[in-house]
């Protein structure tokens, strides 16, 4: 039988079911104990049910931590970006000390500092490189990395635009790649095709790439080692990858915030056309990145469509159409997008509720959860949203009480996951422990 064809003929719900089944089947690893294997199934099932708006045994909880394990383990981001032994040690310590959590995130979001240095990465600054060493996060540098007159180049041939115009601006080491011809010009009789690769500067660029690759392999081994241990201890991965809304792709790291807002007035049609193109690229690369057995869950951090950034009308005109296209492109492949709405989304709920029932989950930062439950409650799983301000400066008692109220409002009927509004890097570990206490005490169905 032709499996490929069968897949193409399935509905999105059937594909979803198939992917979830694969994801929740017990992996071929040596579990640390029979209990761990039981927990693996229990945890996975809890999330799978909540994401699909069903009632699990109790409300699941995602501890809102990003670089937190580094600091909890007595190190810092600057160190673990370069020292992979420290990276492993701190992330393992967190795994061991928080072993009653529902989910565990490995250190894959801590980038390898040396690899980024090898290619002279300019889009981000990180502690010790552009920002003070004790900073707990890496941060994007706002800029116009794509010029206003480059829309046509992007639309006509995105790969060429990326390789020869965009990447040389964000990676210093890629500067010489401007000098290689587009790959589409390689001739049938390849006589002149490789001449530019003989240039010393182009060779230097490839050397830098090779170095970044070697370093990334070392980093990857460390990340995999920790992830394997987490699996053995009964933690299924629940995030399969990341994707962005096309408006954010253009507005964050291509045109920049200021420029994309000018484009909304000065070249709205080009902007829309480029976003359509980016939507297709995003769907293709994201679907490809979700393995057949990994978590079929993609998290989409959302930025510039939040309340206050633009009007409802601008959201409907510029943000929503291609964002929805990406969402549905993933949904139609059986993938569950978790839409992480940073800031607040109160004014968007009436728009986004049009998505098919059960197709996505919404993770809210500062959105009013009772409003979200009311409008989206029978449409999608909702996740959130203990404020980071409370998590970082409040007492465990205050945090637990906040969780109790959230559960009271959001849990009825199923389809709710307790988490933070955004992730934290530092703070009282007891404020995390009481989140787990809260779901166990107040969140049982």
């Amino acid at each position: 039988m032709n499996v490929q064809k069968q897949w193409a003929e399935m509905t999105w719900e059937e594909k979803r079911q198939e992917r979830f089944k694969q994801w929740l089947s017990v992996p071929d690893v040596k579990f640390s104990s029979p209990e761990a294997e039981k927990l693996y199934i229990e945890r996975g099932t809890r999330f799978a049910k909540a994401f699909q708006m069903k009632k699990p045994d109790r409300v699941p909880c995602i501890l809102p931590v990003s670089n937190y394990p580094a600091y909890y383990g007595g190190s810092d981001l600057r160190t673990v970006m370069y020292d992979y032994d420290e990276l492993k040690r701190t992330w393992r310590k967190f795994l061991h000390d928080f072993n009653d959590s529902d989910v565990y995130f490995g250190p894959a979001m801590v980038p390898p500092g040396k690899a980024l240095e090898a290619v002279d990465y300019k889009l981000y600054k990180w502690p010790g490189r552009g920002i003070s060493g004790d900073t707990t996060s890496y941060q994007c540098v706002e800029g116009e990395y794509m010029k206003a007159d480059e829309y046509d180049a992007l639309i006509r041939d995105p790969s060429n635009f990326w390789l020869r115009m965009y990447l040389p601006r964000v990676f210093g080491a890629f500067e010489p790649l401007r000098n290689i011809p587009p790959f589409t010009t390689i001739e049938e009789i390849a006589i002149m095709s490789f001449v530019s690769y003989g240039r010393p500067d182009v060779q230097g660029a490839f050397q830098a790439l090779l170095e970044a690759g070697r370093e990334s392999m070392k980093w990857m081994a460390a990340v995999m080692e920790v992830s394997l241990e987490a699996t053995q201890r009964g933690f299924p991965g629940i995030m399969g990858g990341l994707a962005k809304a096309p408006f954010d792709t253009l507005g964050d790291t291509l045109r920049g915030t200021q420029a994309i807002m000018m484009d909304m007035f000065q070249r709205p049609e080009k902007l829309k056309e480029a976003m359509e193109k980016i939507a297709t690229l995003t769907i293709d690369s994201t679907v490809a990145s979700v393995g057949s057995a990994g978590a079929p869950v993609i998290i989409m951090p959302l930025h510039k469509g939040a309340d206050g950034f633009m009007s409802k009308k601008q959201y409907e005109t510029f943000y929503w159409p291609t964002f929805k296209k990406v969402i549905m492109g993933l949904v139609n492949e059986g993938i569950m997008p978790i839409l992480f709405a940073e800031g607040s989304y109160n004014e968007r709920l009436d728009i986004v509720k049009e998505l098919p029932r059960g197709s996505v989950s919404w993770w809210f930062d500062q959105t009013d959860m009772s409003k979200a439950k009311k409008i989206l409650g029978d449409k999608a799983c909702i996740i959130g949203n203990v404020p980071t301000s409370l998590l970082m400066t409040g007492t465990p008692k205050e945090v637990k009480e906040y969780c109790r109220k959230l559960i009271e409002v959001c849990a009825p009927g199923g389809g709710y996951v307790l988490s933070g509004g955004a992730n934290i890097d530092k703070g009282n570990p007891d404020n995390l422990r009481v989140m787990m206490e809260a779901v166990k005490e107040y969140g049982v169905y």
């Binding site: 996060s137 706002e142 007035f265 400066t393 955004a422």
Partner: protein, 210 residues
């Protein structure tokens, strides 16, 4: 004609605005009056932003428009104009944070509303704030920060102003993505502003302007 420019600018009709500015310059009108009308137009833009009729794209676009008007008018000015300012405000994004979208919008809105803004940029150490406040005797400080590390950086900046012995001479407002009134207490700042127009209102309140 004066009202026309004010309203056209407020309505963001850029082509009409630029034509009218050119016409008024050609007719030999005092360029200072054109700038004054532009300022009034920008005030309306600010009001519309405060009432959620306008959002960031309109602020960005109007800012660009104002820049174009100023460039057109400038060569016609007989001397450098130093308009009377309501007061000084020192602003900046605190140490460990390099985000400046919000910072620059606050800068812009304070400026068009008559304040002299001293913008220290991003990743600003506490002592730089202290030194600048001492140097300029600004009665207002605005601390910006987008990420959670800003909580502590703001707290440290307020503490540095305190230990420099000038805390009672300044009012401090904070603003940014993950902040709220709880963080105002935590940092011992005086107020939290959820957007640029709240910053303007706070600043005006503190210096007793209408």
């Amino acid at each position: 004609m004066s009202e026309n420019l004010v309203n056209m600018l407020a309505d963001l009709k850029d082509k009409e605005v630029m034509e009218l500015v050119q016409q008024r310059l050609d007719s030999g009108e005092d360029p200072l009056k054109i700038l004054e009308d532009s300022r009034k137009g920008m005030e309306i833009v600010g009001q519309r932003f405060a009432s959620s009729e306008y959002f960031l794209p309109e602020l960005v676009f109007s800012g660009d428009l104002l820049k174009r008007i100023t460039e057109l008018v400038k060569p016609h000015l007989k001397q450098e104009v130093t308009p009377k300012k309501l007061g000084k405000v020192v602003i900046g994004t605190v140490a460990g944070d390099i985000h400046d979208i919000g910072l620059n919008i606050v800068d812009f809105m304070l400026d068009v509303n008559g304040f002299e803004v001293i913008n220290l940029g991003v990743d600003v150490p506490a002592e730089t704030f202290v030194n600048k406040v001492k140097e300029t005797a600004a009665p207002i400080v605005g601390l910006s920060g987008f990420l959670t590390p800003a909580f502590d950086a703001m707290k440290e900046t307020v503490a540095a102003i305190e230990s420099a012995g000038i805390r009672d001479k300044v009012k401090i407002m904070i603003g940014g993505g993950q902040l709220d009134d709880g963080i105002t207490k935590y940092t011992k700042a005086d107020a939290y502003g959820k957007d640029a127009m709240v910053a303007v209102a706070l600043a005006k309140g503190w210096i007793g302007a209408k």
